[in-house]
Symmetry: C2
């Protein structure tokens, strides 16, 4: 018999899920479009059926002991997703109860970056680091803070929503949460799209991005253009890195981490995002913090969130 858990990673664009062994090995995984599901019940049923099928195909005696879910604005204490700006299920979603009902299995929830942090601590790059921050760069910007080996949850389970800390700019961008000037409106897929348009509107520089509509532009397209030397695309990465670096310098003042781990969609751009981020971060740091913090691009695959979610649930039922 193989003991395992289901890990679910709900993102603004895609939901990834899979079966993970107690040793952190992904036995099966799949990715679906989050917005295809109007109700969380439909998502839970879809995943249930998919897992049943995959278990048959795997042809192993697998026992699913628990389900772990990572999601934006997730509260591990209440089991609810609360007012997540990047999800179409608005307001209060009792996701733990919904999954429990469909699967008849103990289900646990935490925010999407926390599951990555748990994965990196258990099987990844943060195995020997006790103080670190995870920043997930996807549709939005998620974060997890680990201090002295412990995830910080706060009094209500909502610690670490750093995507909605604000930069103090009077002409700041409107965020999907309704506030103005949130970090996420600058440093995320959406943010990069907006930055490329801001740079285009302020300059006359030729760019292949000028032929693409706002809704069609993606960080991948900007990345490809930057690799071809497109100046607007390169500037977009520089602007994103500059703001991310200033923000990380502030974050370091809070918990003085040994490392900051960047994870998710934007990180495939590697040096294009890392170079301006490190430069801006080091420039913005107080002397006592300079040249001390490792900024690391996670080399784990996207399934580290699934691994972390499953691992969290296995730890919770111990």
């Amino acid at each position: 018999m193989n003991n395992a858990a289901i890990g679910v990673d709900i993102g603004g664009t895609n939901t990834k899920y899979g079966i993970v062994s107690t040793e952190g090995v992904v036995l099966f995984e799949n990715s679906i479009s989050t917005s295809d599901f109007n109700q969380v019940e439909e998502l839970a049923n879809y995943i249930f059926n998919s897992i049943q099928e995959s278990k048959l195909k795997l042809n192993k005696d697998i026992t699913i002991n628990a389900i772990g879910i990572g999601a934006p604005n997730a509260n591990h204490l209440s089991g609810y997703i609360e007012y997540a700006p990047n999800l179409k299920w608005k307001k209060l979603v009792p996701i733990v109860n919904i999954f429990k009902e469909v699967f008849s299995t103990p289900t646990f929830l935490t925010n999407d970056a926390n599951v990555v942090a748990i994965g990196e601590m258990s099987f990844g790059i943060a195995k020997n680091i006790k103080d670190f921050i995870v920043i997930t760069l996807g549709t939005g910007l998620g974060s997890a803070i680990v201090s002295d080996g412990q995830l910080i949850y706060g009094h209500d389970g909502f610690a670490g929503e750093l995507g909605h800390t604000t930069i103090f700019d009077h002409n700041a961008r409107e965020c999907s949460c309704g506030k103005y000037g949130c970090l996420e409106a600058y440093v995320s897929s959406q943010g990069m799209r907006r930055s490329s348009f801001e740079i285009m509107c302020n300059s006359n520089t030729h760019s292949e991005l000028r032929d693409i509509s706002f809704n069609n532009i993606t960080p991948k397209i900007i990345h490809q253009a930057a690799k071809r030397g497109d100046p607007i695309a390169i500037q977009t990465f520089e602007m994103t890195g500059d703001i991310l670096g200033k923000f990380l310098a502030n974050s370091i003042s809070y918990t003085s981490p040994k490392a900051i781990i960047l994870f998710g969609g934007l990180t495939y751009a590697k040096e294009l995002i890392m170079k301006p981020t490190i430069k801006s971060m080091e420039q913005s740091l107080l002397a006592i913090y300079k040249n001390k913090v490792n900024l690391i691009l996670s080399t784990s695959g996207a399934n580290m969130a699934i691994i972390g979610a499953a691992t969290m649930s296995l730890k919770a039922i111990k």
Copy 2:
């Protein structure tokens, strides 16, 4: 025999010190000007003599078991004050060794806001709160973060230098640390002085503050003027509270505290600072955090820092 410890609270303007019993009772206290001492050795010797005298006067059999020091940019791991912008002793000051040599007593160091947090947790307003932040508003802005009952120190002991997190403004003020746009350059005694001048230079409004030089203006003078209805003085508090509130909203996203405790010189202005701060904080918060966090003015006297410093040292020798 009365077991006790010495608590020392080193600030940019004044240094307070005293003898504190194991029950947190201050048996003797005194305040001196920090800048009167060119060397930390002189300060340590002055305090040593003063404590000896006071012990004679107290006419009690007091045993000093330990010394606790709170100071800006203090590192409890290394025992050094490192590059403190508001102190005239620059660079690296091995303050723990200096006090140990003068007193021949175990000596412990942490940052100035951490000692307040320890005091408030042990004998003050935070006795039953496990997640809170302390902001000390004096010459500079200090901070301490408590998560799940534990002070956050970070990998190098330097967590919680929030006075030097920066606001992202291109015309930002130069800070005493050499960076631009630090919170401390806006929200502190120095910051309020600068804000009052910024408001005066941008308006024609009559104000009694226009007869006072930059170096002579203090938050106390601005406070007195505001109580008399001076519009520039009132605006200065509004501007300070507005920036402080936005910053606190960001801080809440990090550790989701149950309470934020404001402590120190600026807090005597009570409603003048609290009202604009709460308004700005609540406006800036993400929905999940709104109307949940208690912003509290510490009612402890200024000697809470001495009590906390002494208590820290007594805990350390246990």
